[in-house]
């Protein structure tokens, strides 16, 4: 099983890198870009774990290690193409 975890700054936290990317996009003429938030992507290959167990463990490890809950939030998903296999 493979899972993808997306970590990004909370809305209440200023993201200066996202702001800089946004400004670059606006400079290039992409005036429709209203906001940019930059984050980190983690893809984990799992083995020896059932899907219900993963649904317990992934949020736990994301909160403990991958994200700092003071400044960051995360979403995660089981990668669909893997699920079909």
């Amino acid at each position: 099983m493979r899972v993808r975890i997306l970590v990004s700054f909370k809305e209440s936290v200023l993201d200066p890198q996202g702001q800089t990317v946004k400004n670059a996009l606006l400079t290039l003429g992409y005036g429709f870009v209203r906001d940019v938030r930059q984050g980190k992507v983690f893809e984990l290959a799992l083995e020896g774990i059932s899907e219900p167990e993963a649904r317990r463990s992934i949020p736990e490890l994301a909160n403990k290690v991958l994200a700092n809950p003071i400044i960051e939030k995360f979403t995660w998903e089981i990668l669909e193409d893997e699920k079909k296999v």
């Binding site: 209440s12 200023l14 200066p16 890198q17 800089t20 290690v65 991958l66 700092n68 003071i70 400044i71």
Partner: protein, 227 residues
């Protein structure tokens, strides 16, 4: 006193810190390897500056899981003195021994320069040799020093006198331009409620001898040393 300077892979101020403690302050000082589980009877611990684990994931985020950190946490819980400098401060935040987190500097630049610090609390174990209102000149060298904490945490640490150092200008005024990294409340250094754990972004070990351009950092080490 006997000090332990914790060495992580990627620490690069460990030698300077040991030098300041041993050769300038004339204290006993040893290195503590992060993989060990033994504090070897030290009376005080310094988490030095550097880039532990290459700052991978987040600054200090991997170092906090080093084996020795379990002992450091227990040592701090028993009231032991712990000083975190720069990356050491980041590790203390990730460990949860101090509140808040670090964001990238507001101008997205690595900042390596002298700053002025107003000492906001001179009755701590880390600042008791500093006269109230004194402005210190000490260098910083970091990419992630933009202190962040939620508003309720900020209110609590301000009310509790936990803000020990603030970025100010040479005259001691907290201006926007003096707050070089954009820290909330211009916070440069923070102590825990119990008063035994201090984290600071500036490097006192780089400002402990006249030869290096400033001796102001030595006041912090002198405060720390029993007399």
């Amino acid at each position: 006193m006997k000090f332990g300077v914790v060495v992580f892979p990627g620490s690069n101020c460990d030698q300077d810190t040991l030098h300041a403690l041993r050769d300038v302050l004339h204290q006993e000082a040893i290195f503590l390897w992060h993989k060990d589980h033994d504090l070897r009877g030290v009376d005080g611990i310094v988490l030095p500056g550097g880039f532990s684990y290459g700052d991978y994931l987040r600054s200090g985020a991997i170092a906090r899981f080093s084996p020795l950190m379990q002992e450091v946490r227990e040592f701090a819980d028993r009231g032991g003195l712990v000083l975190g400098i720069c990356n050491g401060f980041q590790v203390l935040l990730e460990l949860g021994l101090l509140p808040g987190a670090m964001l990238r500097n507001k101008n997205l630049k690595f900042l390596c320069q002298y700053v002025h610090l107003r000492v906001e609390n001179t009755v701590t174990r880390f600042t008791r040799r500093i006269s109230p209102g004194r402005v210190l000149r000490i260098p910083i060298a970091h990419f992630d020093g933009n202190y962040f904490a939620p508003p309720e945490t900020l209110r609590e640490i301000e009310a509790g006198g936990q803000v020990v150092f603030r970025y100010v200008d040479a005259a001691g005024e907290a201006t926007e331009s003096a707050n070089v990294n954009g820290s909330a409340g211009a916070i440069a250094g923070l102590i825990n409620k119990q008063g035994n754990v201090l984290g600071m972004m500036p490097h006192p070990e780089r400002a402990s001898e006249a030869l290096l351009g400033s001796e102001d950092g030595r006041l912090i080490f002198e405060s720390l040393v029993d007399r």
